[in-house]
């Protein structure tokens, strides 16, 4: 009775383990056959709502050139996509073209490990002329950059974006404000907020829980109060955060809080929630990116809104600039055997003709600067905004310090900390990290 049972366990065991051990031997034949077929370019991305549009372009390209491009929606969100890329990079299984975010530390790591092609030569041959110059800069690294990347352009910009303030025309009218002349100065902005609040309308919403947006708001005013050189000096550690200019930038949040400008719960609101609030007329103004045009259309097609720039503080030394840059980019796998084919496709795809079609279908701003005809008035304002975006400094503040600043903004909004306390905390952390 004992023996059959033991055998039984062994049988189960072999049944499970067997396949693993046996499958392990020689299965590379498929790959050899694959190489003989006509070229197939694989393109990974995470742009869920664009997959079907991209596939149409792939079909068109195959018809024209016979080269098949396979768009693979590898992940539902940017965060997961990063995981997927990392696993693929470490096992050398990255695709020929990789959807990426432009520049910064994220891409620098892949470039330094040899995963990304340097596209400088191709770009210099006239390719780069079709893009917004700022967009090209976001995918490039200059001499002496902090990550030690060999200078050059590594990412092809596909879309661009910037952040402005949307406002609801009907709610403005309700509060006695002129929807044709939105507030242009900070004083007018605060005054408009008071009028709106008096009518029981929440004046301002934004996805400050998503953190990025809070920091972008801050950056616009930091630039205005400090100017480019001083911001750079702070980030590289030559100037302290504890200064009147930085305090003035942070005090924008204090003023808005004290004047009850914020919609309830803004400190942890995600951008999606904020978009819903604005689309449903629960808030009169919303800080958001150019992508929101499409979002608001989907949520409430009847919404009557326009867009305005960030209000200028008259005491600030510099004009207020917009946060913006590339939305999404494409990079070419440095280890791919089909580099040239991949570049050829990207050139074709970023062509004016294709981009006009793409913009029409995806309701977004193309990185191709020639594609501005036929944009809706609001999107045209965003396209114009590309001329006033915060320039790329080629230095980044340390992520840890940025987190303290971003979280500090939330603390200021809920009345837990003062501007100066947040700045002191940030500076203390920065000193510790150096």
């Amino acid at each position: 009775m004992v023996y059959p049972c033991k055998k039984w366990i062994l049988v189960i065991y072999l049944f499970i383990m067997g396949p693993i051990l046996f499958v392990g031997c020689g299965q590379d034949k498929d790959k050899e056959i694959g190489a003989k077929k006509k070229p197939l370019i694989t393109f990974w991305h995470w742009w869920t709502d664009r997959q079907s549009i991209l596939e149409e372009f792939a079909d068109q390209y195959e018809e024209e050139t016979g080269v098949k491009v396979k768009f693979v929606l590898s992940s539902p969100s940017g965060d997961l996509y990063k995981n997927k890329l990392q696993a693929a990079a470490l096992s050398s299984t990255l695709p020929d073209i990789i959807g990426v975010w432009g520049g910064g530390e994220f891409l620098a790591r892949y470039i330094n490990a040899g995963h990304i092609s340097n596209l400088t030569d191709e770009m210099e041959e006239g390719w780069k002329d079709r893009f917004f110059p700022e967009a090209i800069k976001r995918g490039s690294y200059q001499d002496g950059n902090q990550w030690g990347v060999i200078p050059g352009t590594y990412a092809v910009p596909l879309t661009v974006m910037n952040i402005q303030i949307f406002y609801n025309k009907r709610l403005f009218e309700k509060a006695g404000l002129d929807p044709m002349n939105p507030p242009a100065t900070w004083e007018e902005f605060i005054a408009a907020g008071r009028k709106l609040r008096a009518k029981g309308i929440a004046p301002f919403t934004a996805g400050f829980g998503d953190l990025g947006l809070a920091e972008w708001f801050l950056n616009s005013y930091a630039w205005s109060f400090l100017g480019e050189d001083n911001v750079r000096a702070t980030w590289v550690g030559e100037r302290s955060y504890v200064s009147p200019e930085w305090e003035a930038a942070f005090d924008k949040f204090v003023e808005m809080r004290d004047n009850e400008m914020f919609i309830e719960g803004i400190a942890i609101m995600s951008n999606k929630q904020s978009e819903q609030a604005f689309a449903n007329g629960l808030a009169a103004m919303a800080m958001n990116g150019s992508w929101a045009v499409n979002v608001y259309y989907q949520m409430n097609p009847d919404l009557e809104y326009d867009v305005m720039s960030f209000p200028q503080d008259t005491e600030a030394a510099n004009p207020v600039l917009l946060f913006g840059g590339t939305g999404i980019c494409a990079a070419v796998n440095g280890k791919s055997s089909q580099k040239l084919e991949a570049i050829k496709f990207l050139k074709w795809f970023t062509d004016k003709e294709r981009q006009i079609e793409y913009v029409e279908k995806a309701h977004t701003l193309s990185a191709n600067r020639n594609v501005i005809d036929g944009l809706s008035p609001v999107l045209a304002k965003f396209a114009k905004g590309m001329e006033r975006i915060i320039p790329d400094l080629e230095v980044e503040e340390k992520n840890e310090v940025r987190e303290v600043l971003r979280k500090g903004i939330q603390s200021i909004i809920i009345g837990e900390k003062t501007s100066i306390k947040v700045l002191e905390e940030a500076q203390r952390l920065k000193d510790k990290l150096e």
Binding site: I9, D79, H115, A202, G265, I268, M269, S411, E416
Partner: protein
Amino acid sequence: MKKEKIRYIRHNWNSYLFVLPALSIYLIFGLYPFLRTFQLSFYRWDGIAPDMQFVGLKNYIDIIFNNPIWWTSVLNASIVSIIALTFQNGLALLLAILLYRGITNGRTIYRVIFFMPPMLSLIVVGYIWLWIYDGNYGILNHILRIIGLGNHVRAWLSEANSSLISVAVAHCWRGFGFAFILFLAGLQTIPEDLYEAAKVDGAGTWNQFRYITLPLLVPVATIVSVLTILGTMQIFDLIMAMTQGGPGFHTEVPITRIYKEAFSYYHFGYGTAMAIVFGGLLLILSIFQMECSRRRLRR
């Protein structure tokens, strides 16, 4: 007796045969990847670079002595755990007992309904709870106004003193179903004749609960509480759906910190070391818990 014992030892080796299938899968797909990542905790690595820098115990020392935010996050998760241990498990036990001994009608329906929350997607759960807590048109504020507690109205998730508790309540709601079915399964192991005997002795409902149900539930209660602590200390997706760790650092928990270190700051070594420190804490905690209940059982 002696002969029996010898036979027992002789057949000892085939004990391993019982463990072998599970163990071999675990060794290949669990332990091996773990050991490969474990060594990272002694390095500085950005997650992509082919080379990494050996830093010894620096990551560990920094986490333990020099990272107040990390310990805040551990404290936050501990608070949620205590709430879950008491309220969530208390509710689950109450419901299980009521269904087992309190009522006779509709047991099946209740049993199915009480397990709905764990089966719902996080997308639905997050959406509903954000709606409940919303400061502008939230259901909770609405109810408070109706019952005359209008002065307690607030944006529940975005205030320093209510955000963590609010998340904890949502977490308990989402998790009580698991505890409920475990308790239900545990109650089945109590022999019915014990209750019959107690009834004959004239014991009331409370005394039956106190002297039969509760002591015999200790093994299951241990399982439930260990699993509650493990699940709650590792709370993550609900936090991301509701507050993303804000406002400030009020709802940061260990897993949000670990992920931020690894995937936002690209400090893979540091993030791994955090996970090891955290895992160590949990292991000590659960072994302690199991030993405690074992002692109680012996008594």
